[in-house]
Amino acid sequence: MSADTMTDTAQTGNLQRKLHAISNTLLMSLGPVAAAFVLSGVILLILDVNPFSYYGYVFGRGLLSPTGVQATLTRMGPLLLIAASLIVAFRAGIWNLGGDAQFLVGAVFCAAFTPLMAPHVPVWIGLLAGAAISAIFGALWTLVPAFLRAYQGLNEIITTLMMNFLGISLASVLVKLVFLDPNTTVPQTRTLAVEDRLPTLFGTTISSGLIIGLVAILAVHFMMTKTAFGLRLRVVGGNASAAVHAGLAVPLLTVAVFAISGALAGLSGGVAILGQYGNVRADWNPGYSLAVVPLVFLARFNGFAAIGFVGLFSIMSIGAESAARRTGVPNYFTLVTIGILLVMLAISEYYGAKRQKAGA
C-alpha cells in the first residue's frame, strides 16, 4: 500500500481552470450517483418497488426536507472528524484501521466524566473538558500500535485491527462495570442533559459538531498540504526510506501521527456524545470509521473532497433509511445501495484519474 500514488495535483491554476475543475467534480460525483441509482433501481424493480419513488424519498428526505437536511448536516460532524483522523494517518502512510475503537474509547470517557462535571461548571467549560478528555483517550488508545510501529516496525494494520476489537470490548466493559449510571437498569453511562450539550446552530437542530468537524478537516488539510510538519509526515508516508535518508525523526513523527489521528477519532466520539447522544450505551458501536475509510480514499486524502463525499454519504444514509420505510423495502437495501454507490464512485475516480493523466 503505497501513498505515493496519491500525488497532490498541482495547485496552480487560474479561476477559469478552477471553475472547470468544479464542474468536472460535479460531473464526476453526480455521474456515479446516477449510475448507482440505475443499478440499484434494477434491484428495486425486482423487489417490485418503483425506483423513482424510492429515490424521490432518498433525496426528498436527505437533502430537501428541512429536518432531513438538518439530520444530514448533524451526522456529518463526527464523520468529518473521523475523516480528518484518517487523512492525517493515511497521508503519512499509517494505515490506522482502529478508528472505531478510538472513537468509542474517546466517547466512553467523555460520557463518563462530562455529565458529572456539567452541574458544577459553566456549560462551555464542561464542553471543552469533555472534548479534551475524548481527544486524550482517543490518542492514548493508539499508543501501543504507535510504539510497536515506531520502534519495532510492527505493521500497524494488524495492531490497530486488534486494538479495535479490544477497544470495542473495553468500551462496553467500562460502561457495564465502571461508568454505569446507577439510576437505570440499562447498562449506559450517565446522560448529559440536553441543555449542557453542544449548542445547535441558528435555532435548528443542527449540532455545532458540524462546525467542529469542518474546522478540523480544513485544518488537517491545511496542515498536510501547506506546512512543513505536514510535508514531513507525507514524506514518511511516501517513502519511509527516503524519510530516514533525509534525516527525519521517523519514529517520533510516527508516534505523532498516531496521536493526532487517535485524538481526532476520539474527539469525533466526544462530539457525537456532546452534540447528539448524551450518553454511551453498552455494546454501542456506530461503525463510523469503517464507513469513512472508503470515503477518504475516494477523496484521495483531500480535505475538500472528503467533505463532499461525507456529505453525499450522509444524505444517502439519512435518506435511504426513510425511503426504505416509505416504500416497504427492508432497510438492508440501504447497505446494497451504499455498496453500489462506492463501487460507482471508485470507477468514476478511476476514469477521472485516467483522463487527468491523458490530458496533463
Binding site: M1, L154, I158, L161, M162, L290, F297, I338, L342, V343
Partner: protein, 310 residues
Amino acid sequence: MTLFTDTFLIALIAGMAASGVPLLLAGLGEQLSEKAGVLNVGIEGMMLGGAYLGFYIAWATESVGLGFVGGVAGGILVAALMALFCVRMGLNQIVIGIALTLGAEGATALLHHVQFSRLYPRLPDVATWRIPVLADIPIVGPALFDREPVVYLAVALVPFLVYVYRRTHLGLALQAAGDKPAALDSAGQNVLIIRSFAVLGCGALVGLGGAFMSIVGAGVFVPFMSHGNGFIGIVLAMLARGRPLWVLLGAALFGACLSAATALQVAGVDIPTDVVQMLPFLAVMAVLLIAGRNAKLPAALGAAYVRGER
C-alpha cells in the same frame, strides 16, 4: 457431578474446531490474496456470500456436498467482482473491499428476508468421517478425528498451500506478484492473471469457510452471521506473514480462546463475560508484543499493477 467429563472436554475441543475452521479458511484465503498483492478487505462479504449460497443449495438440494460447492461458488461470485474491479480495472482495493462487504451484507440479508425469514429452515446434522486409529485416542480423537470431511479438507489445505508456495512456480509467481509485479510481468507472466487467480482462490476458500459456518457451524443462515470473522481472518493472515501453518495456529488459538471462554462460564468462574470475551484478542496482542518484530508485508500490497507505469 464433575463438570470436566470427557464429553464436556470433547465438546470444547470440537467447539474449538468448529469456530476455528471458518477462521482458518478465511485466513488462508486472505493470505493467498495478500501474497499476490491484493489486500482483500471484502472477505467478510465473500464469507456471507458463501454462507448464504452454501446454505441455500444445501437446503434446496438436501445435499451437504452440493452445499459446499455452492459455498465455494458464492465466495467466488463476490471475489469475481473484486478481481474485476481491483485487478482488471485497478480500482482502490480498500474502497472496493468495503463496498463488497456492505453490498454482500445487504444482499444476503435481503435474500434471507425474502426467502427464509418466515421459516428459518435448519439443516439436519452433517455426517462425519471417522478416521480409524486416530479417532480412538481418548478425548482428542472423537473431538478432532470424527469430523465433517470439510474439516479435514480445510486442514489438508495447509500443507497443500505450503507446497504450492514453496515448491511450485505458481508459488514464486504469487510472491513476485505481491513483491514486484513489474518483475513478474517482464518475465513473461501475466500479473493480472496471477492476481485474479489469487483473488478467486481467496473467494473459494473464504466461501467454503462461510458455507462451513452456515451448514455445519450453525445449520441455519441468519443475516450478518459472519459476525466479524472475516476481519479476524485478515488479522490472522497478516500475523502469519505468508506461512499457512501460522494461520492454522492462529485459528486454533482463536478457537481455543472461544472454547475456553465458554468453559470458564460454564464452570461458573465469576469474571465478567465481556472480559472473558476479550481473551482471544488479548492473547494475540500478547503474542504480538512478545514475538512481534518487523512484520513485512508484500511490497506491492494494495497497489494496482499497471504495466509500464512508474
